[in-house]
Point group: C2
Chain length 350, copies 2
Amino acid sequence: MFRLPRIQSALLTTLTLAPAVAFALTGCAGAPNTTSEPGDVAIVIHGGAGTIRRGDLTPELEAAYRSALEEALSAGHVVLRQGGSSLDAVVAAVQVMEDSPLFNAGKGAVFTSEGTNELDAAIMEGKTLMAGAVAGVRRVKSPIALARAVMEQSPHVMMAGAGAETFAMDQGLEIVDPAYFFTQRRWDALQRAKAEETGPQVTAHFRDPDDKKFGTVGAVALDSDGNLAAATSTGGMTNKKFGRIGDAPIIGAGTYANNKSCAVSATGHGEYFIRATVAHDICARVAYSGISLQQAADEVVMKELVEMGGEGGIISLDRQGNIATPFNSEGMYRGSIDKTGKMVIQIYRD
Amino acid sequence: MFRLPRIQSALLTTLTLAPAVAFALTGCAGAPNTTSEPGDVAIVIHGGAGTIRRGDLTPELEAAYRSALEEALSAGHVVLRQGGSSLDAVVAAVQVMEDSPLFNAGKGAVFTSEGTNELDAAIMEGKTLMAGAVAGVRRVKSPIALARAVMEQSPHVMMAGAGAETFAMDQGLEIVDPAYFFTQRRWDALQRAKAEETGPQVTAHFRDPDDKKFGTVGAVALDSDGNLAAATSTGGMTNKKFGRIGDAPIIGAGTYANNKSCAVSATGHGEYFIRATVAHDICARVAYSGISLQQAADEVVMKELVEMGGEGGIISLDRQGNIATPFNSEGMYRGSIDKTGKMVIQIYRD
């Protein structure tokens, strides 16, 4: 079993980690020089929540996740530092994770019961409350790019299935063969899910730590104009049936942004997140109860969802740059670069 | 041009209309005897909002709408009076409107750009926050029954397209040939929409008053156990493309119920209702701002939506039996039977 050195573990529990240290820990040459230009921008990302325990990941896999999370954070942050919009930043961050086979979004998406990959995504802009969402697309390389096209290039907010793909082609977005989304790891996970469904509980079987993870990727950002944005992209649940749609593409559930309150992207057992209208509920508590983002996020994720039995977590950000990332699962792949330029990347609870 | 007698028009503007008078006005022999058993139950329904002006409807068509609305109200109210659940009541009311060719839901649904009918529906229970929704189904006679089956018989909240139909068949729900949903009126509306799209503006053409209506049907109810429920069913927008999904099946946008705040069903330009998370926002204002249902509903429908340019309205109900039905369009087919047993059926603004 791999364990982080105690000192690193302790450092990773806090968001006040100095950038130089974060640098040293994550050790990626391509990371932004966040100390020189703190600015008033911030970005938070997640790569899914669930049963991710220290020791579940090999050192190599953990390093790969940390590196990918840092790459995503950096891709978003560089947009913000250069004066780009929060919309551009969340798309840049999410696309890095969509393109990585490590995350359940884009390349690396889980398989449906029928052995296909059906992808969902949503995006929302806090200034205008413009939003775009897609569900059940099978051939669009970047679902978050399609969600943005729905928002900006159509009169609609949400499109699904083959119709959404037709729109993607009309828009000239990159179309891929469905085989592009194949990864052996996710295919094996589908076979394990099917074996468990039909046979006796096969607990002795090899389990991928991701089998018990609600894979989704997402980002929220605050740009130098003070505008918030949120984006979420996912392959949904392994072995999903019946054209199931989760919370990711549901505006107000898995994705929401409003300059008057906050921006949220969620990851978890989507059915509960829809029923609890998680993303909008957090922002509504901030707007109408006047409580802090942290308190609102904690109330929804650590109390309401827990009482319902809904496992998962969220990332959130307000216009003051406050960050809250509560999760009630054992772990959540997450990272942030706050207004002072401090970067943190975390996986486990403690 | 048909005009209501002044006295009837005046009476219909108020919710304090005595049931005997409502009876006389609507004149349906099958209406419940609401004076003898007022009880603590209530139901509110809508049959769509939009440009519905006095004079747009022939006397015969107006009478048909009023009769259908009364039948739907009665179907729901009888369930409640007999001690049935608010869930059963909203399904009963919505199914009457789904089965009527007058409304854009079930039989009578509008056509997509491809000449098909793609139906959406959602239901939510205020006590448990259980919810079910379906999008883009083409062969299920009662989409609201399917939404309820998704809620009660599956681990999911939302299903779409062919997958949702497979689930409907597994559940033994009534499957119909797509031709079941054909109505000449909606087919003609599609042809007019396509003509406007491709040719010059043909304002001289015949217009059906429903061309400018956001057709949706919905119901909210309060049962004798004090439980709220909400249900919405729709055929979406005439000439819709790309697998567009509107607000009706989006929990928190077109449909929401929570015993802690209120139950809401919306009808309008769905894209705006999703972006404004209308149904949840009204309930959140009640829950967190402590304002009345009427005030919360007015803030969202008459202010937030108007500022965004979102046309339509909502019906809503809280556990005290308070009813609010604001709409910013010219008309909304609507009706209610309040806790005292008073029935009102209205179409126009004044």
